[in-house]
């Protein structure tokens, strides 16, 4: 893009050969010492000449060379033009040296380029320019910002621009100007503003960084306003990440709630069924990329059922071949399914390698939606929350409104009686186990969109999902939902307060203590069923 712009710029200039920059300033930028360079850049910016943008761009791209320490050339593809006049130079002089762009100059150039773009006619470009300037504009940009502010018609950009202007004016020598700037900054919601204001209130030895007491008081008030806005943003972010983690836990634990909660089967391979779903998504993605690159953005539509059926098939095969023979012996089931998980992990390692594989987000899931300033909800997380809700509704519907659900509940409550009235219990077991495994596959599909996909994927979630089911209580979907959301939120809030690892340990400790008080979980079955 940049190269194209430069090429276009070059073409235009070559056609018209029309710019005239002061040669001494150009030389100072290209070959002066650090202070001279920055000073020259700010002078050039205010000159308003058409060649400035092209010159700065060439500097940033490393296309500027100095001939004999005097003449500054923009050289690209063996074509040279004079940086000061824009005229073509033919042939190229022999004694060319690269102009050195250090980090300080680069920073100045970038903010100067943004300042120049403030004059662009494209709103998006102006907005982007303001955002760059927010993170650091020098005093030399002030005149440009001022003129841009006068010209600007868009209300949003005006607001941002005013804040940028204020943050630059803070450095001004005039106390009244500083006071106005500080007051204007109260409207800001940029975390940098907080640092800026805090800097004013800092004590340097005996005196404050800001000499004027009135300005300091105003800064204090502005600081509070900014801080409260920022902490609201923080809180919303925390709630969102908590809900997001909760939705992931819910997806991971829903399948377990069926196999463990309803059927009483301890499936230690549940995590690996999640992994199978994630790898199915990976395969679907590769298939789309190879066969139908045009439809790549919609590969998830195929991946979701693929993940479901892949895991469901694996799950049903396990039920038929191993778990069936261990009903009523939960401890043995635990060991056997652990063995299955080891075999699944090693199979995936042998097939796909031990490294993580890449699963890309479709374009419509990347990026995010900005709710308020500093609060961006990434689309993939939003989609997963919706997906978890959809899966939950579907499972609820299946269990309470369909014939299969009726059978599953009947077998759960009284296997013998269900069998007597003609429920094919063995088939129901297989199907229910397949359903639980399929939901694990869906969880894997969702997880592939936000995290790494590797052979150990399942191991990271197995302890967590068991905790959700144990906390929620056996045999009830509502318990699983509350436990997943509760654990997700608690985890994120504790994390902000004590760090990720300690938060996790605290949660585990809490569950261990909680189970002491209510061994049957949040939502215990009452009456005879409790001891079944």
């Amino acid at each position: 893009m940049k190269k194209f712009a430069l090429a276009l710029g070059l073409a235009l200039c070559c056609a018209r050969m029309a710019w005239a920059l002061p040669a001494d300033l150009v030389l100072a930028v290209a070959a002066g010492d650090s202070d001279e360079q920055v000073a020259a850049v700010s002078k050039l910016v205010t000159s308003g000449d058409a060649g400035v943008a092209a010159f700065f761009q060439a500097l940033l791209d490393g296309n500027v060379q100095v001939a004999g320490g005097k003449r500054v050339l923009i050289v690209k593809d063996q074509q040279g033009i004079d940086a000061a006049s824009g005229e073509k130079v033919e042939p190229l002089p022999a004694d060319l040296d690269d102009a050195v762009v250090n980090n300080r100059l680069r920073g100045t150039l970038e903010s100067a380029r943004s300042a120049l773009r403030l004059a662009s006619t494209d709103r998006a470009q102006r907005l982007a320019a303001v955002k760059t300037l927010e993170d650091g504009a020098g005093e030399e940009m002030l005149p440009l910002i001022g003129t841009a502010l006068e010209r600007e018609t868009d209300a949003d950009i005006r607001k941002l621009l005013a804040l940028v202007q204020a943050s630059v004016q803070l450095k001004s020598a005039d106390a009244a100007l500083r006071l106005a700037a500080v007051k204007a900054l109260a409207q800001s919601d940029n975390p940098n503003t907080k640092m800026l204001l805090l800097g004013l209130l800092e004590k340097k030895g005996e005196s404050y960084a800001e000499p004027d007491a009135g300005v300091r008081a105003a800064a204090q008030a502005s600081l509070q306003a900014v801080q409260s806005r920022l902490s609201t943003a923080d809180r919303i972010n925390q709630i969102f990440t908590g809900v997001s983690l909760g939705s992931i836990l819910l997806l991971a634990a829903l399948g377990l709630a069926i196999t463990y909660g309803l059927m009483g089967v301890i499936n230690m391979a549940h995590g690996e069924l999640i992994m199978v779903g994630a790898y199915a998504t990976y395969l679907a993605q590769n298939l789309f990329r190879a066969q139908a690159p045009g439809l790549f953005d919609w590969y998830l539509l195929a991946a979701v059922p693929a993940a479901f059926f892949a895991s469901a098939l694996v799950g049903m095969a396990l039920e038929r071949s191993v778990i069936r023979f261990l009903y009523g012996r939960p401890l043995e089931t635990l060991l056997a399914t652990w063995g299955i998980s080891l075999i699944l992990i090693q199979s995936v390692r042998s097939l796909f390698g031990a490294q993580n594989v890449q699963v890309e987000n479709p374009v419509w899931m990347s990026g995010g939606v900005e709710i308020i300033a500093n609060v961006v909800f990434p689309w993939n997380r939003v989609v997963i929350i919706g997906f978890a809700l959809a899966v939950l509704t579907l499972v609820w519907f299946l269990l309470t409104r369909t014939r299969l659900g009726l059978f599953v509940r009947a077998v759960t409550q009284n296997r013998g009686m269900a069998s007597c009235v003609g429920v094919p219990t063995a088939r129901v077991d297989t199907l229910a186990f397949g359903l639980g495994s399929g939901i694990a596959g869906l969880a894997g599909c969702a997880l592939s969109q936000i995290g790494n996909v590797g052979p150990d994927l399942g191991q990271t979630y197995i302890v967590d999902s068991f905790m959700v089911v144990v906390l929620g209580g056996v045999g009830q979907l509502a318990g699983t939902v509350y436990a997943a959301l509760g654990l997700g939120m608690a985890n994120k809030f504790l994390e902000a307060w004590s760090g990720a690892v300690l938060a996790k340990i605290a949660i585990l400790a809490f569950i261990i203590v909680f189970i002491q008080k209510r061994p049957q979980g949040l939502f215990a079955l009452k009456g005879r069923m409790a001891d079944a």
Binding site: I266, M268, V322, F325, L326, P330, L331, E332, T333, L334, L335, A336, W338, G339, I340, S341, L342, I343, I345, Q346, S347, R349, S350, V463, F466, M467, V470, V501, L502, K504, I505, L508, A509, I511, I512, V513, I515, Q516, K517, P519
Partner: protein, 367 residues
């Protein structure tokens, strides 16, 4: 005074049993040291240092398997936390061994290298006195014992049993693993403890020290076997078996299962801790991956392979699985997990009595 006790011990095994034990003792305490230290390298009967180290390691595992058999095979409680107790014992011993490095570490500091790396100036409080061997030995017993006692007290009192108990112990182990992975916990984080130099003043890498550790492990293994046998053949042991088979009936007969379970659970944890303390100086490293849930489940499979509720089976299982592991992970690293996974499945499906059950088909069948 020694008369009744001696005759009590004498009754633990029959004549054949004692002869077998004496034979094992002869092999471990006479044949191994002679063949390893006295015979030259080229000799046909020479036992290599590798074999000694491997056998020593397996004996530590066998002690853990015995502890597991007491709690799972006899009492019916499947613990997925025994790897944690093993590692805690190992860490307690490791603290002493770290202290014994002195100034011979990379940074020639009084503090262990990892503390220098973290820029710590002094030992944290929980490291105090660990330079004394007796104190470290006390920790080896007390830390796993106390943790098991407190955890078990709450768990058994609220009648958590079966799979619930297994999952909760797994969560406990997982939490401790995360805790020990942190650098700030003060146990070396990821890398744990390693680079030990000496134990009780002896250099840790010499063949003689290694043989002494080997003999200590063998001695501990035999002691544990006799102790476990004494427990399970006593009246107390019969109550444990009764708890396994029908806990509510035991309760209705006037026993309080909580006391019995708590005692055997704590004893089992302490035995694991001791095994861990013997294990660490022999392998020369302890890190948090010893606490990973997978390790604890593997302990259960040793016991299941050998045969639950037979003590000797536990030892046999630990030896078989770990022997196979050390051969297969070298020969076919790709297939070891397949093999282990299949072992889990086949043993639970087809060998509920374990290998002992195969050797001894007349043993009464258990449901």
């Amino acid at each position: 005074m020694m008369g009744p006790l001696a005759s009590h011990i004498g009754r633990l095994y029959g004549r054949k049993g004692w002869i077998a034990l004496a034979l094992c003792a002869a092999v471990l305490f006479v044949a191994f040291p002679l063949a390893n230290l006295a015979l030259p390298k080229g000799n046909l009967l020479h036992i290599s240092d590798y074999t000694v180290a491997l056998t020593g390691k397996i004996m530590c595992y066998a002690i853990v398997a015995l502890a597991m058999d007491l709690i799972w095979g006899y009492t019916g409680i499947l613990s997925l936390g025994h790897g944690l107790f093993f590692a805690l014992g190992g860490y307690a011993m490791g603290m002493y061994l770290m202290r014994m490095i002195g100034r011979e570490g990379q940074y020639q500091s009084d503090l262990p290298d990892f503390m220098v790396f973290l820029n710590w100036k002094a030992y944290p409080w929980y490291w105090s006195f660990t330079e004394h061997f007796w104190y470290a030995a006390l920790l080896v017993v007390l830390v796993p014992g106390l943790l098991a006692f407190v955890f078990g007290f709450f768990a058994f009192r609220s009648r958590i049993k079966g799979v619930y108990f297994s999952i909760i112990t797994q969560a406990l182990t997982f939490a401790f693993m995360l805790l020990f992975f942190r650098n700030d916990t003060g146990f070396g984080g990821n890398n744990g403890f390693t680079d030990f130099k000496r134990i009780l003043g002896f250099h840790i890498a010499t063949a003689e020290t290694r043989m002494a550790l080997f003999i200590a492990s063998g001695f501990m293994l035999m002691l544990t076997l006799l102790f476990a046998r004494a427990i399970v053949s006593s009246k107390f042991g019969r109550v444990l078996t009764a708890i396994r088979d029908a806990e509510s009936r035991v309760m209705f007969s006037g026993y309080n299962p909580v006391h019995y379970k708590l005692f055997i659970w704590t004893v089992s944890a302490v035995i694991c801790g001791i095994a861990g303390a013997l294990y660490v100086p022999q392998v020369g490293i302890i890190n948090p991956s010893e606490m990973s849930p997978a390790n604890s489940i593997e302990i259960a499979i040793w016991v299941a392979v050998g045969g639950r509720g037979s003590l000797v089976g536990a030892i046999l299982g630990a030896a078989l699985v770990n022997g196979a592991k050390s051969v297969l992970t070298v020969a076919f690293p790709e297939y070891w997990l397949f093999f282990l996974g299949l072992l889990f499945i086949l043993v639970t499906l087809f060998l509920p009595q374990g290998v002992i059950g195969l050797l001894n088909p007349s043993r009464e069948k258990r449901a």
